[in-house]
Amino acid sequence: MAARHNRPQSLRHRDIGLSDEQVREMYYYILLGRALDERMWLLNRAGKVPFVISGQGQEAAQVGSAFGLDRDRDIVLPYYRDMTMVLAWGQTPTEAMLGSFAREGEPSSGARQMPGHWGSKRLRIVSGSSPVATQVPHAVGLALAARMRGESSVAWVSLGEGSTNQGDFHEALNFAGVHKLPVVVFVENNKYAISVPESRQIACSHVAERAASYGMPGVLVDGNDMLAVYEAVRGAAERARAGEGPTLVEAECYRLVPHSSDDDDRSYRSREEVEEARKRDPVAVAASYVREAGVLSEEEDAALRERIRREVDEATEAAEQAPQPSPDTALRNVYAEGGAGAWQ
């Protein structure tokens, strides 16, 4: 379990080895992720993009993860809510918007996949799919390969708490545990799997407890606190790099919006519950941290938000103006090209 800090907040980030600049950067990505996400909902409600799947409420967990890893060598397997993670990992707002609009040049899939299915070999972001938890064994395989080659990279993979009930989660974590592989399994527990609350989904009290089944440490961390997450993930990554094996990290968050733009959450949770959760909104938590820690003034904050608004505008415009991929590209990249196009 993550240690609780009682020191004055203003020192926390330095205590855990983060510079003021790094904290400002983390804060920037949290704001950027939120702003881009909110814009996507607006575009959806305006009929411009067909679908949104949202990370609102999980931004701090994602940014904490990205900064806790080594962005120059680690490999990440994000899930569909991880837009803020992939932004912090190097994808651009325009790239994300190209996904929402499903336009040519979308880097993850050539607009073949729904939004949120991140991927980029260049950035070491492994292409994800929709069936949940399938990415977990992939992460273990990537970690296995790193070990076989004597590389020191770590594989970080994320999923929702409901998805930890899939067989693939179990099989993959056990494999990683037996072979002591350098993996960080990061569960973004946002309390719901579509409409099903954690209590009807998971028989134990915390996902982190599942780690015991796999002989690895389980770390429970406040997912609304970017610094706590940073510390937990960095610790897990260091452990992995030191050859001590995998760690399961559970970040407690709350899904602040409906499951997706096709969902209406009023039938299965009360407005009061959502309002209550908003009090711990990670954007607000981060904002008050940077303010109180004195790393960002009110004016700087306003300027930053303005810069982000511009970036989101530009991304939206660029994506909206991009053409659709040409229809015949649908036939490409089924197999390695240049090979015999035999009867399949």
């Binding site: 067989g167 659709q324 229809p327 590209t329 399949q344």
Partner: protein, 327 residues
């Protein structure tokens, strides 16, 4: 007689069957308060409670496997797989267990289980919310597979599936949910599994289809009728078992066959239909057996024009029909 949408026919039939038979219950992801992501189970939890409308954990193999266990005990579970695309984790339970329990116990244990799953594309679902899955299951003896195309057939066949003594996969084309409305009698009618239906009598060519594509075929047949080409159109309704008689009768009638499905062609349902015809009615044919189906790519892409490229349409079907008629 009420006019209903396809999805209302699903929901009302579930409701009727649960009222009729206390052994019937539904289980799946979000089927409870949420009423299913497509609302196919809306209102059920209010009437039947949490014990008979079970929100399961997110785990398809358990959904089917626990369903099998309850069917072994003599209940009549209706298990929902939220999207057919997510059925693969349950493959082992479906193929090795549900389909085989009667056989492997020499008739001692049976599995009267229904697996409902929305399938099919044209809904901006991309690679993992658009798939057709029937061809991956139709090769497994012990299973039945039903794929209705109208609200009337939904009600009659879902009733049959729930009352069947063996496992039935009930595949609902999700594009049809709200697209198609039709008359549904209020009484307790049951349609036999394994019977196709001639939707339109014709003399020049025979078109065999099911699901959403069947509607494209009917639209195309209307267009062709105006061009003086008369199409005989068959809705398979059941993929397993297939209705040999109705198909062969259709073949003999026109001598020209076009099989149409949204799923990709290689190894699809059309392969068996064609092979059966080539085996049993070869000399009734006046033209090669044609198949019009999805392209050989892993699944339907998301971008609208890529999706359109994949999907069939009345125009694509009409073109294929014209070509065959002109042969």
């Amino acid at each position: 007689m009420a006019v209903k949408s396809y999805i209302d026919a699903v929901r009302d039939t579930l409701m009727d069957e649960m009222r009729r038979d206390p052994r019937v219950f539904v289980m799946g992801e979000d089927v409870g308060k949420r009423g299913g992501v497509f609302r196919a189970t809306m209102g059920l939890i209010e009437e039947f409670g949490e014990e008979r409308v079970i929100d399961t954990p997110l785990a398809e193999s358990a959904i089917v496997g626990v369903g099998i266990g309850s069917a072994l005990a003599g209940l009549r579970p209706v298990a929902e797989i939220q999207f057919a695309d997510f059925i693969w984790p349950a493959m082992n339970q479906i193929i090795s267990e549900a389909a085989r329990l009667r056989y492997r116990s020499n008739g001692d244990w049976t599995v009267p289980l229904v697996i409902r799953a929305p399938y099919g594309g044209g809904v901006h679902g991309g690679l993992y919310h658009s798939q057709s899955v029937e061809a991956h299951f139709y090769h497994s003896p012990g299973l039945k597979i039903v794929m209705p195309s109208t609200p009337y057939d939904v009600a009659g066949l879902l009733r049959a599936a729930i009352r069947d003594e063996d496992p039935v996969m009930f595949l609902e084309h999700k594009r049809l949910y709200r697209l198609i409305k039709g008359e549904v009698p209020d009484d307790d009618y049951v349609l036999p599994i394994g019977k196709a239906e001639v939707k339109r009598q014709g003399a020049d060519l025979t078109v065999i289809s099911y699901g959403l594509a069947l509607h494209f075929c009917l639209e195309a047949a209307d267009v062709l009728a105006q061009e003086g080409i008369s199409a005989h159109v068959i809705d398979l309704r059941s993929i397993k078992p297939l209705d040999r008689e109705t198909i062969l009768e259709g073949v003999r009638k026109t001598g020209k066959v076009l099989i149409v499905h949204e799923d990709n062609k290689f190894g699809g349902v059309g392969a068996e239909v064609s092979a059966m015809i080539a085996e049993e009615a070869l000399f009734d044919l006046d033209a090669p057996i044609a198949r019009l189906a999805g392209p050989e790519i892993p699944a339907m892409p998301y971008a609208p024009n890529l999706e359109r490229f994949y999907m069939l349409s009345p125009e694509k079907v009409a073109d294929a029909m014209r070509k065959l008629a002109a042969f």
